[in-house]
Amino acid sequence: MLWYKAWLETRWRFVFMLGSVLLVWLAPQWLPSLGFRLPPGVPASRLWMAIHLGSVLLYIVAANFLAGSGVNSQTTYAATSGFHGSMLFTLSLPVSRRRLLLVRAGLGALQTGVLVAIMAVYTLFHLPGGASTFQALEYIARAIICTIAVYALSVLLACVLDEMWQFYAACSCWIAFYLLQSRFAFVSWISPLRGMSLFSYPVTAPMPWAPVAASLALAGVFLCASVLVLQRKEY
């Protein structure tokens, strides 16, 4: 039944993020109605690029918003400071902390993956020049894998921080990572942030294995660290 708790805990967050995705999907329709029009001479692909960048940011926000450790209860929408008292009820259940974490993290990862896939499909659907089915699947897979690395860091942070600080800390980590990747070629080469984007690795180029492999490794490390932290943590 832990999945049931995880679903009730995250369902409105998931719906909220789904709504945000739809808002981005429909941007070409509602932006002009608000008076936003591309200046004369600017190609329509610019709008697509802006939407694509927005969708990558959305991947990161979704990953942070849907992550949780399974121990500290989360509110429906807002990231709150402090730990909720229901944590003691959760910890008194006959369940291992590892299972608490894995079920909650598993469901959050699934939701994040679904959101990323929806956004990626949209991005590809409007890709100037189009993409083959294989290329599309390749991009969706790497976008999900790279986002899961972002997600796994948030899970780790959720094990040590309350929700408010988890969100800020996760955002700070990825801003720092972004700055690092712009300075160091190696960081850029393996960066999950670049792996999520179509700009860094054009859809026609071969699969960028370095960020995919790095993301998988980071996700694994973060998740293992989360389990270890949770098992040692005192409440």
Partner: protein, 297 residues
């Protein structure tokens, strides 16, 4: 079948080097209702959290249901057989009453639907109501329902009647007494309400500064301990403090008040030798026992 449900030996726990429990020893027999008393910060909640595996002990051992609790697996096995009511009575803010029950039920194979229905009706808990919309009293009732309907052999409760009105407090105390009497459920609860403890407990454990200072059957304690009031013509003699068998001594003016247990008659005989103008021996209440031990009066 082991007759000691909770057994802790040499239990110690510190927070940032500050000791919260100091070599605590605790034994709670099967079927008893044991009141766990102490001032704020005495170590009651720390003890309960250690029993539940939420904290790691610095030293000592814990046995629940006769089995050592020294790993997560053994803690989980023990938690399957017990119910817990936390001090703040917080439950999931994203669930309704019904969802909370449906979530909790599958973790406990011995869940009793009859008790679930009985307590839902008794507490008049609306199934569809969201947990955040429940009053504190109703949240307490829901938590009690979740603890009692699981068919637990042991109930660990931190201030179980907190937030309840006097009538509901009375009902809950009655339910707890009935559970212990009919199902043999062992109940270990911390409380500041000495009257509640006196009403339903057959055992009492008083903790102060992380150590057990009184532990035993309530009736035995009441018959063992005596208050000896001595009135002198002048200042009480200094030799009074040296009398053997005194638990606590309090002096005010010409009067000395002794709390003693064991050979009270022998102590009274020795006190008479100090020449008091009057000697009075009377039984003690739980409140006196508690205050004398935790305040050292």
């Amino acid at each position: 079948m082991n007759d000691i449900i909770i057994a802790a030996e040499g239990l110690s726990k510190s927070y940032d080097g500050k000791p919260a429990l100091r070599s605590l020893r605790l034994e709670v027999p099967r079927g008893s209702i044991c009141g766990f008393l102490g001032r704020n910060g005495a170590g009651k909640t720390t003890t309960l959290k250690l029993l539940l595996g939420m904290l790691r002990r610095d030293a000592g051992s814990i046995r629940l249901f006769g089995q050592p609790v020294d790993s997560e697996a053994s803690s989980i096995a023990a938690r399957r057989r017990l119910g817990f009511v936390s001090e703040d009575k917080e439950l999931y803010p994203f669930m309704t009453v019904d969802q909370t029950i449906r979530f909790t039920r599958p973790f406990f194979p011995g869940w009793r639907r009859d008790l679930e229905e009985k307590y839902l009706e008794l507490f008049q808990l609306p199934r569809k109501k969201a947990v955040p919309k429940l009053s504190k009293g109703m949240r307490t009732q829901l938590m009690l329902l979740l603890a009692m309907a699981r068919g637990a052999e042991l109930l660990l409760m931190d201030e179980p009647t907190g937030g309840l009105d006097p009538a509901m407090t009375e009902d809950v105390l009655q339910i707890l007494a009935d559970l212990a009497a009919s199902d043999g459920t062992t109940i270990f609860f911390s409380s500041h309400q000495l009257a509640e403890v006196e009403q339903i407990c057959d055992r009492v454990c008083i903790i102060d500064q992380g150590q057990v200072v009184v532990d035993g059957v309530l009736d035995d304690l009441k018959s063992d301990y005596r208050r000896i009031l001595l009135v002198f013509d002048g200042t009480p003699p200094p030799g009074l403090a040296g009398l053997p068998g005194i638990d606590h001594l309090r002096q005010r003016g010409r009067t000395a008040s002794l709390l003693a247990h064991g050979d009270v008659e022998g102590l009274v005989d020795r006190a008479r030798e100090l020449g008091p103008s009057s000697v009075e021996v009377r039984p003690v209440t739980l409140k006196e026992l508690f205050l004398d031990h935790v305040r050292g009066e």
